[in-house]
């Protein structure tokens, strides 16, 4: 999948905002991605430097905005993947409404802003020495932004860790998205698709329910005798509850079972087990329980729960490590969902805070915002929007609003949102 380089969609929508790079696109800076060359202080720091770990919704935005706000600050982005694949809209790939190409973008736009991209993973963080270990060497920083997304707790479900080639999550958009779409497509009419929802907190609260809509829509359209069994660890639909319930009236093929936590999966017998039941499947999609990205856990940025990272609500500085900022799905303690839009907002606020702090000024008090669309069929969508303010140094919600009903106009705005926010992150 990574070889399928396509910027057509982005260019078509983004137009003049993005100029074409030459073939090859994002290249590793200085080192040609050659790990053995990364020894010692392999990129000595000149002036002020921000290092960003992770080029997703939070990290890519933070890297861009530090450069936008102050081109005098050097920004190095560590991201192993050469392309960005959007989780929002990836459920539409499962139903065949969209191609993976249309949600896959390169990092050229960030390079044009002067962000130095190393397609490498951060190996460790050393806050006391203000450096990040990469390969056999290290990078020094003045401020570090950690935006590692989520990692799966495979060990929570018996049999899952050893079945990674067969039991897919498709909860990090990319190769697994295409593989799960292929499994769904090759399932026989009359087959059973089992989808399991993890207990909160997990990435994208409405995401599993949007996926249920997309799989049910696909089955209804293409395999009318097939069935979708949903095993939800939660007691009810976690987000946009009434709107999803209304959407599901069009899908009698959904068998939704709340309070059904999956504890085991066995690909040899094609069976999942909950605390009380067993279910046979033809295709299974297990969305596993989650925690902060591994680097955040290894660096001990997580709290007592060993899962999520507590941060200052104005600067996103970790409560556990100075000069280390954590943004996106890895964070906890703010009254916000783990959404792409929130990660994007945190990236901008964090970048603004860092530029102020490096300039010797206090960070302004800026809240995030959240706009979140979900597709309920091939053309209609629903949305939830949250606005916030800062009160006594903490993020508090001003208001949450839902669209009154699903509609094609909301779907039209969903496309506008995606095109705009991909541009805000990457162009």
């Amino acid at each position: 999948m990574r070889q399928r380089v396509t910027r057509r969609q982005f260019l078509r929508t983004a137009g003049a905002g993005i100029s074409l790079g030459l073939a090859g696109g994002a290249v590793s800076v200085g080192l040609g991605g050659c790990a053995p060359a990364m020894k010692g202080d392999f990129m000595p720091k000149g002036g002020r430097r921000v290092v960003v770990v992770g080029g997703g919704w939070g990290g890519a935005t933070a890297a861009k905005y530090v450069r936008l706000l102050d081109p005098g600050i050097e920004v190095v982005l560590l991201e192993p993947n050469r392309e960005f694949v959007s989780c929002p809209f990836s459920n539409l790939v499962l139903s065949g409404v969209r191609k993976l190409d249309s949600i896959t973008f390169r990092y050229d736009g960030l390079q044009k802003r002067g962000v130095k991209i190393l397609h490498e993973a951060a190996a460790a963080i050393e806050p006391d020495r203000r450096r990040v270990r990469v390969g056999e060497g290290y990078l020094e920083y003045d401020r570090l932004v950690v935006s590692p997304g989520i990692e799966f707790q495979m060990e929570q479900i018996q049999g899952l860790a050893e079945s990674q080639d067969k039991v897919l999550h498709a909860w990090k958009a990319g190769p697994q998205t295409a593989q799960l779409a292929a499994q769904l497509e090759s399932m026989a009419d009359g087959g059973v698709f089992v989808l399991t929802v993890p207990p909160v907190a997990y990435r994208c609260p409405p995401g599993p329910y949007e996926r249920i809509c997309q799989v049910a829509w696909y089955l209804k359209t293409k395999k009318p005798r097939a069935k979708l069994i949903v095993l939800d660890a939660n007691q009810n639909i976690v987000s946009k509850t009434g709107l999803f319930r209304a959407a599901w009236r069009d899908y009698p093929n959904i068998d939704y079972r709340p309070s059904s936590k999956v504890i085991a999966v066995d690909p040899s017998t094609r069976e999942v087990r909950t605390e009380f039941d067993r279910e046979k499947y033809d295709v299974v999609n297990v969305i596993p329980p989650q925690r902060a990205g591994t680097i955040a856990v290894q660096a001990d940025l997580v709290g007592a729960d060993k899962r999520w990272c507590e941060v200052n609500h104005v600067t996103y500085e970790s409560v556990k490590a100075k000069n280390v900022h954590v943004i996106g799905d890895s964070t906890t303690g703010l009254p916000v969902p783990k959404s792409g839009n929130i990660a994007n907002a945190m990236g901008k606020v964090c970048a603004t805070a860092i530029v102020h702090l490096l300039g010797g000024k206090p960070a302004p008090e800026l809240p995030p915002g959240n706009t979140c669309y979900s597709w309920v069929n091939d053309r209609e969508a629903i949305a939830v929007v949250n606005a916030y303010r800062i009160e006594g140094g903490k993020v508090v919600q001003i208001e949450q609003k839902l669209t009154p009903a699903q509609s094609a106009l909301v779907g039209h705005r969903a496309v506008g949102w995606a095109q705009s926010i991909w541009h805000d992150m990457l162009a």
């Binding site: 905002g17 081109p71 005098g72 000024k361 001003i398 506008g416 541009h423």
Partner: protein
């Protein structure tokens, strides 16, 4: 010698000022509205220059019109589940600064291309619109009539549909004539008008 020394001091001073940079350097942070409008760029683009079809361009929008819309969104007079919470945020953060920021930005017309045939048909149909929005489509800021020129076509289309359905500012008497006019235009005509106004520069 003295003269040369002075020049050197000035040059060094400039270099230092440039190198120190940070939040004090000339840049987007200089406008007090920039930081308050940070959250808006997710949909409306950096500096309010949306590149998508559905999301309106705010750059260059008259401050008075922007403020009126934020107030209408917040009160629910212009119903929008997306904008109502954000409008309340903008009012709390300081609408004057945010409005002033967007008004001061140079508008980049939408990059979404319009079909030449649709734009040509739209131009003919736009004669009635021009009475208020002007021959150039730039509106009349003093009368709170917005510019349509170069605006995102999907946004123009959606607003015309909402006017036609009377779901945009349903209680606003000042928009009665606008809505009556929109009801006379069939849906394909709305597409043509959107194409025409989005193509104006």
């Amino acid at each position: 010698m003295m003269a040369r020394g002075s020049v050197l001091v000035v040059v060094v001073g400039l270099l230092v000022a440039g190198a120190v940079g940070g939040a004090g350097a000339a840049g987007p942070l200089d406008h007090p509205g920039f930081a308050k409008a940070l959250t808006c760029s997710a949909c409306h683009g950096v500096a309010g220059n949306s590149k998508s079809s559905a999301m309106p361009i705010l750059a260059g929008m008259s401050a008075a019109y922007f403020t009126r819309q934020i107030e209408a969104y917040a009160k629910g007079d212009r119903p929008s589940p997306e904008m109502e919470p954000y409008a309340k945020y903008v009012l709390q953060a300081g609408v004057a600064e945010v409005a002033g920021y967007f008004a001061a930005q140079k508008m980049e017309p939408t990059p979404i291309p319009a079909s030449a045939a649709a734009a040509a048909r739209g131009k003919v149909a736009a004669a009635a619109c021009a009475i208020c929005h002007g021959q150039d489509g730039k509106g009349d800021a003093a009368k709170l009539i917005p510019s349509l020129a170069g605006q995102a076509p999907g946004y123009l289309r959606e607003q015309m549909i909402l006017f036609k359905q009377d779901t945009r500012n349903p209680k606003d008497a000042a928009l009665k004539a606008m809505k009556a006019l929109m009801r006379t235009i069939p849906d394909p005509g709305i597409e043509d008008l959107a194409a025409y106004y989005s193509s104006l520069r």
